[in-house]
Symmetry: C2
Subunit: 462 residues, 2 copies
């Protein structure tokens, strides 16, 4: 630790924990993307809000870039530190600060894992309903930074809907205490919502007050086999109009193939080209009859070729695993990920166009599709051939993303539904946001981070 700036940091924040070992620099310098070589200056692990502020003030004095860091499960490079940045890890700030039964809020430090929030809410007889597969590792601060979505959005919305308040340290080291848990507050610009999805470029979330809700009603999980892609939206409509859907997820035979190879259990005798896993409220006979009616209507129309409904919690978990294990099962193939969305009504035309596009563009690559079809959100994973160099692979994929971005622009969709823009999608931001909007974003960035030290180069170049 001979860098004089770090010597200064230790003097400025004596209690700060600092890591500079090469293994730490590598560990904390990257997220779930593996495209960049980690090269941070050092890792700072503050224990208090005041320490976070002091680190930012030090960074501001020395012009050092700061990369806020949670669970680093991100898929867009938002937490990558590859240019001598200081990684500011919130991992030590992972405590529950308060539970309020009357307000039904849980106040936490930003470094707490999503799963710990789930468990704490459950211990109090309530639920924090945002959920996705990386729950054990991802942090609430990161969830807020990307407005994380996941598998229950169709019923409960995105992270944004559940943030009652938050404390944020801006690029000048100022602490803002935003909205403070109020339900109604029409007192000027809602900076809380501005911070949500800003990917650490406007401020570092240090605390959040999360709204809790009643535990999800008793539910059933159903797995459906579909003969073709074209019927997907019809199946969705048939289920949505009859049932209170908690989730409606789709995946292809290629996805199932990888999940089975990863150890999951085969759900049907035969393989089918497409699958849906759906969860719906099902506590009484009326709801169970409605579920059967939806299933039968789809069978009668030839939209569904087979189906199974969970008979126990264990079986429900088994069916869910077929969908949830996809990301993990694909990880070894270094997939190039697209995470796009359109309005549900635009989905059929967009799906058709995308299928044609990818069929032409990727004849030699394996393409795995899955997604939250009820939210208009599609995940397209392209697997790297073993014998191909990664840079070459990414280069080829990016050419296709350019075409996909053009299609999204036409269908008024988004190049990032839930992963965020980060580094990975920065070059395609203009397919989703107009030049005027991006200029406004740049202007806002200068207000909250005048020196441009917070996560620079992510989202857009200033």
């Amino acid at each position: 630790m001979t860098d004089p700036r770090l010597t200064d940091l230790v003097q400025a924040v004596p209690a700060l924990r600092l890591k500079t070992e090469p293994s730490d620099l590598e560990h904390y310098g990257r997220d779930w993307t593996r495209r960049w070589t980690p090269a941070p200056l050092a890792i700072a692990l503050p224990g208090t809000v005041e320490e976070v502020q002091a680190v930012v003030r030090w960074a501001s004095q020395h012009g050092v870039a700061v990369v806020p860091s949670g669970g680093r499960t991100g898929l867009s490079g938002g937490a990558v530190a590859a240019n001598g940045e200081l990684v500011l890890s919130l991992e030590r700030m992972n405590r529950v600060l308060d539970f309020n039964a009357v307000d039904r809020t849980l106040t936490v430090q930003a470094g707490i894992a999503l799963e710990a929030v789930h468990n704490t809410a459950r211990d109090h007889g309530l639920a924090y309903p945002v959920d996705f597969a990386s729950r054990g590792s991802c942090s609430i601060g990161g969830n807020i930074a990307t407005n994380a979505g996941g598998i229950r959005v169709i019923r409960y919305g995105n992270t944004r809907e559940w943030i009652a308040g938050m404390k944020v340290v801006t690029g000048t080291g100022e602490l803002l205490d935003l909205n403070r848990g109020l339900i109604k507050n029409s007192s000027g610009y809602d900076l809380r919502h501005l911070m949500i999805a800003s990917e650490g470029t406007l401020g570092i979330v240090v605390e959040a007050s999360l709204r809790l809700t009643d535990p999800a009603p008793a539910s059933n999980v159903m797995l459906l086999a579909l003969p073709s892609f074209e019927v997907l939206m019809q199946v969705f409509s048939a289920f949505r109009e009859r049932l209170q859907l908690q989730a409606f997820e789709f995946f292809t035979d290629r996805a199932l193939h990888h999940v089975l190879a990863h150890g999951a259990q085969k759900p049907f005798e035969e393989m089918h080209p497409y699958y849906v896993v759906t969860e719906f409220a099902s506590g009484d006979e009326v709801q169970e009859a409605a579920a059967m009616a939806a299933f039968e209507a789809c069978m009668d129309s030839g939209w569904v070729s087979d189906g199974v409904v969970s008979q126990s919690d264990a079986q429900a978990a088994q069916l869910w695993r077929l969908r949830e294990a996809i990301t993990e099962a694909l990880a070894p193939y270094k997939p190039y990920k697209n995470d796009v969305s359109v309005r549900i009504s635009a989905m059929p035309a967009f799906l058709e166009e995308t299928q044609q596009l990818l069929g032409k563009a990727y004849p030699h690559f394996e393409v795995v599709w899955f997604g939250h079809i009820g939210d208009g959100n599609l995940h397209i994973n392209v697997l790297k051939p073993d014998d191909m160099d990664n840079a070459e692979f990414v280069g080829q994929c990016e050419q296709v993303t350019t075409l996909l971005a053009a299609s999204l622009q036409k269908h008024e969709g988004s190049i990032s539904a839930e992963h965020g823009i980060g580094l990975v999608k920065k070059g395609y931001l203009e397919s989703t946001r107009s030049a005027a909007e991006i200029e406004v974003m740049r202007g806002i960035k200068r207000v909250l981070d005048p020196q441009g030290i917070l996560n620079p180069g992510k989202l857009f170049d200033v």
Copy 2:
């Protein structure tokens, strides 16, 4: 129309409808507050988005301030034009542009009245659930500008939750098309949420895409008589834990007195000091039994002295009228309005403190309380004595607001729950937002409205 700037405006936007008659200047120059003397330069009534843009560009060239204007039902002076501004009325832009059954969205021009939105949604078998008494006159653009709340927030949230997208003209005349109806969109700063509650100081909302939902379930309305103020939160808890509340509103005997004088029908033989009107889902025996259980638990505890439950839609409307007619019944008394909120858990301590404060501060004034207690939102109306000059009255009330603001600051509440800051609460913004937050707001204002021509002097001074 001899002002050369207006001659120039007519040349620049030939199709623009422009009004300069004294009666029009007065009519369009004020909102439901009556504290300022209207003195606009002129009234512009554009018919298209392009005309709105052209008017803003003209205003930018001539340094003329623009006051965006909807139904002017605001209670904070946000739409007042008292300093030679151009009023830009959206009243001609009041059409439904699109209904999308798959996305469940209704796209409208900003000048449409809330009630017309309700009716259109109902015609399509769906509902737009934000609702309040001024529904017949207020416009969606104004609802967005204040993040309007109202009587169903406890169940459906504020306006913010229902805006899938919007088009906004900024202070440079640029048109931003924000979020475009997407459910999931993590592609940078959500400028849509920044615009909501910005009171026309960052942009002029010209179109909005509103999310619709299923019609409200069958419900019952119950009126409760309470013996004291102290039991209010207990009654709320007893009902909230047993029922799916659609509304939970409270008012005092003084409020009832004025509503009865205004023509409403007396609900109980005797008068009681406090009342609650609550609406809850009630379609089956289980729900009806739960409602009776809640009522009986409150009676047994002595928290409620009497009650009546609606037996028909007509009776439900009659009970609702007791609450909804308050604002109208008080209007002739030129009430000074406070519209404050705290977290629900802070409500008991805040209520006690406020009651003491107002008892001491207003011995000679009649004070009428009501509000959305389930959202932590309290309306305090102070009635002007007949023989007191209005300026003198407002002056005395503002001294009390200063004390109330200090109490709110202590309890981490908001000086404006749903009316907005406008001109009326501008002097108290610092009780709710920190100096650092207000500086950030000023910076953001400069980004979107660099010349400061959009609704200047509202919310804060630049």
